[in-house]
C-alpha cells in the first residue's frame, strides 16, 4: 500500500470503541461518524501546518563537534586507564621483588646463624666440658634453648610493637 494512501483509510481501526458519549474528552474513543470529505480536507490542511522540521542551521557542525569531544574524552579515558594499568603492574612487580628479597634475607640469616652457632659451640664446648664435665652437653642445650627462646620472643615483641605502632598511626588518621 502506498504510504500516502494510508491516511485516506477512514475506517475505524480494529479495536476502536465506538460507544463514547458526544461530550467525551478528546482522548476518549469517539463515536462521531467519519466525515470523509472533511477528513480528506483536514489531512491536506494538517500536512500543510505540520511540515517536517529541518535541523537548525549549524546542527551538523555541532554534532561533529560533540562527536569529536566524545572521541577525545574516550581517548583520554583509554590513556588514563592504560597509565593506571601500567602503574599497577609496576607496583605488583616491586612488591614481588621485595618479597623475594625478604625471603633471601631470611634464608641468609638462618644459614649465617647456623654457622655462627656451630662456630660458637666448637669454641665453647671444650671450656664447658672442662667446667661441667659430662653435663656440658645439657648446659649447651639449655644455652641454645635460651638463645632460641630469646630470639623468638624478641621477634614477637618487635612484631607486636610494630602492630600497636601501626594501630596508633592508623587511629590518628
Amino acid at each position: 500500500m502506498n504510504p500516502k494512501d494510508e491516511c485516506m483509510n477512514t475506517d475505524p481501526p480494529r479495536g476502536a470503541r465506538l460507544d463514547a458519549p458526544v461530550d467525551a474528552p478528546v482522548d476518549a474513543p469517539v463515536d462521531a461518524p467519519v466525515d470523509a470529505p472533511l477528513d480528506t480536507a483536514l489531512d491536506k490542511a494538517l500536512a500543510r501546518v505540520l511540515p517536517p522540521p529541518s535541523p537548525p542551521p549549524g546542527f551538523q557542525a555541532r554534532v561533529n563537534a560533540a562527536l569529536a569531544r566524545a572521541q577525545l574524552s574516550d581517548a583520554g579515558r583509554a590513556a588514563s586507564r592504560a597509565l593506571a594499568l601500567r602503574d599497577q603492574r609496576s607496583q605488583i612487580a616491586a612488591l614481588d621483588a621485595d618479597y623475594l628479597r625478604l625471603r633471601r634475607r631470611t634464608l641468609g640469616t638462618l644459614i649465617g646463624g647456623a654457622f655462627a652457632a656451630g662456630a660458637a659451640v666448637a669454641v665453647a664446648y671444650p671450656y664447658l666440658q672442662a667446667t661441667f664435665g659430662p653435663n656440658a652437653i645439657f648446659v649447651l642445650a639449655c644455652v641454645g634453648a635460651l638463645v632460641g627462646i630469646g630470639i623468638g620472643s624478641a621477634s614477637w615483641i618487635g612484631r607486636l610493637r610494630l602492630i600497636s605502632h601501626l594501630e596508633r598511626r592508623l587511629g590518628r588518621l
Binding site: 494510508e6 482522548d27 480528506t40 480536507a41 483536514l42 490542511a45 517536517p52 535541523p55 537548525p56
Partner: protein, 206 residues
Amino acid sequence: MHSAPADAQARDSDILALLQSGALEPAFQQVLARYQDKVYRLCRALLRDPTAAEDAAQESLVRIWKAIGSYDQRASLSTWIYAITRNRCLTAIERRRDLASLSDAAVEAEAHSLQQLQGELPGSAGGEPDDDAELLRELVDLLPERHRRTLTLFYYEDRSVSEVASMLGVPEGTVKTTLFRARAALAEQLRRRGLDDPRHWLETSR
C-alpha cells in the same frame, strides 16, 4: 508483503555490511546521512521544544556513535537508533519534569489550555487561512500527548504509518488507532467551532 523492520533492514544493508567489516567510521557517516534528520524529527515530536530537541538529537547521535561497535543486529538498525533516541528524549522529559514545579503560572497555563480546548478560543469562522492554520496547529498542540506526537510524526514522516510505528516503538495498528482518534478529536473540535466545512480546509491547505 514485507514487514517494516525487514524493509528497513534491507534499506540499511550497506551500513550493516560496513559494520560487519569493522569499518565503524564510514558506517556511522552513513547512519548520520540517513538518520540525522529523522532523529531530529523524532526528538521534535517527542519534546516539542526545538532547543531541547536539538540537544536530545545531538546526545542521541553521540550515543549511537559510542555504541555502534556493539550493535548486534538483533533488532533492525532503524529500530535500534530510534530506541536510543526515545530513551534520550525520555531522559530529557524526566529532567524537565524534575525542574518544573506545579507553580501558579503552570497551573494557570494548564487551565488556559483547557479552556481553549473547551471552545473558549476566539471563534475563527470566516477568518483568514493563516488564522485557521494557526488554530489547527493549536488544536493539534492541545491533543493528548500520545495523539499529538503520533499525528505530528505521521505528517513529519510523509504519512508513513510503518515509519511512525518504528520510530515510536509501537505496532502499526496502534499508530492507525491513535491517528484515527486524533483526527476524529480534531474534527469534533472543528465541528464545535462551526469549521467543519471541507471546502474551508481545502482553501487553508492551499
